[in-house]
Symmetry: C2
Subunit: 257 residues, 2 copies
């Protein structure tokens, strides 16, 4: 926990927040704070700043908050992910959020097992704390937007263009396709929309539909990865390629001036 | 399981192997094979090939193996990893192996809890099946070499040069340093030695020692990642950068000829 996130409704008019849950335990037992100490905090979907430990009585920790740093920008990567097994999904929520993702669109696909949709991991009460965990790890405050889609075709044909800003669209395929860095470097967009298939891959229909909607196949080499490993690896590559692109554009601008 | 790995001692003189464990269950229940079917196989640290399902009686599956494809090359990335929590380590063994790693050197560091060394996850009986799982996922046969080091300084000063081939040495730091792609592209080496620190980071002594031994700091942006997420992300970046480097050298060679 590199940042303690506070919900807007927890923040009193006097800028104090009274924590009693895992965050209080973390402050007490891991960070071993005493009254007067300063800790890094953030407001869910809001500013970041610092808080002074005001009081520690019983199980509560009372913080006086100063949220003066503007909220970080929302991440420039959106994720279209074929719904993985509940156990994997549970792990991925925090990991994807830590790496930085603006939207997580969980979709059906031919090779997704139907019963995956019945898991309670898809309920907001279950996944929201996992998103918060990822944000607290990465010192971010911006909650990803999560949506669940039982109809792949409706998502790709009707919703994607409306829901996502213009972006380099890529779909990972084992073994063939361009490299992510090359594609993103040469593209006109400063955002990425990444499609990650189910364990057995997209089927031909799904692949063609994605390609017809501008998704370029990218390769991560010939090794077949489990979908959680692939997802973390691809998000890391997407962010890295976007940052390289920004750096290169800065350098070009400097040389031109 | 994209490849069934067979131990050398399981392979009879007549090239048959009789499986009774999880691999037999996978063949029967997931791949739903029947006698006469062909499956992809590999020999641990050896060749790859195909096998024909010869017999299925009781709980056993008997395969007739043809291991004619030479073993894949060993991965060109070595990993020096501050020993993570046992639960995280257990997960990382398979994930790192799937991404491709030649050596996994698990080391002590100031911010590694001493009791992490007592876990049974560090016993060969526990981690070897996890490495095999990663290999079967990635269709590789080359077992990573795992070693455990209670003395960081002895490892870095005395063993590293002997144990690892010349490589671009990089150490991940949140927030500052060059980008991995840039460093690897411009380097004379076709291998990477990657150092990943403990949850709280390397301390000053450890960082200086690594830098004095040629480890260049690289940045993955300002987001702080859990060590398992960081490890998967960095291995993916290292492989991607090495493959981009190889492609660029091919292109340069083509233009020069």
């Amino acid at each position: 926990m590199n940042l303690i996130l506070i919900e807007p409704e927890e923040l009193g008019h006097d800028n104090t927040a009274r924590l009693t849950d895992g965050r209080a335990a973390h402050l007490r037992d891991v960070l071993k704070v005493v009254p007067g100490d300063e800790v890094r905090i953030g407001l869910v979907d809001g500013n970041r700043g610092t808080a002074v430990v005001h009081d520690m009585a019983h199980d509560a920790v009372v913080l006086t908050c100063r949220l003066t740093e503007p909220a970080p920008p929302r991440p420039s990567v959106d994720l279209l992910l074929a719904l993985p097994r509940p156990k994997v999904l549970r792990r991925l929520f925090a990991q994807c959020t830590a790496l930085g993702v603006n939207r997580i669109m969980l979709t059906n696909a031919a090779r997704v097992e139907r019963h995956y949709f019945d898991t309670h991991v898809l309920t907001r009460d279950c996944y929201r704390p996992l998103l918060i965990e990822g944000l607290q790890q990465a010192r971010d405050t911006r909650l990803p937007i999560v949506s669940v889609h039982r109809q792949f075709r409706v998502l790709v044909e009707d919703l994607l263009d409306e829901w996502t800003a213009p972006a380099t669209r890529v779909v990972a395929q084992p073994g063939h396709g361009e490299r992510m860095h090359t594609l993103i470097q040469d593209a006109g967009h400063s955002r990425v929309l990444l499609a990650v298939g189910p364990e057995g891959g997209w089927n031909d229909f799904e692949r063609s539909l994605l390609e017809s909607r501008g998704f370029a196949p990218i390769s991560m080499g010939t090794r077949a990865l489990r979908s959680d490993t692939a997802c973390v690896a691809l998000l890391a590559l997407a962010h890295d390629a976007l940052e390289s692109r920004t750096q290169r554009m800065h350098t070009t601008a400097l040389h031109a001036s």
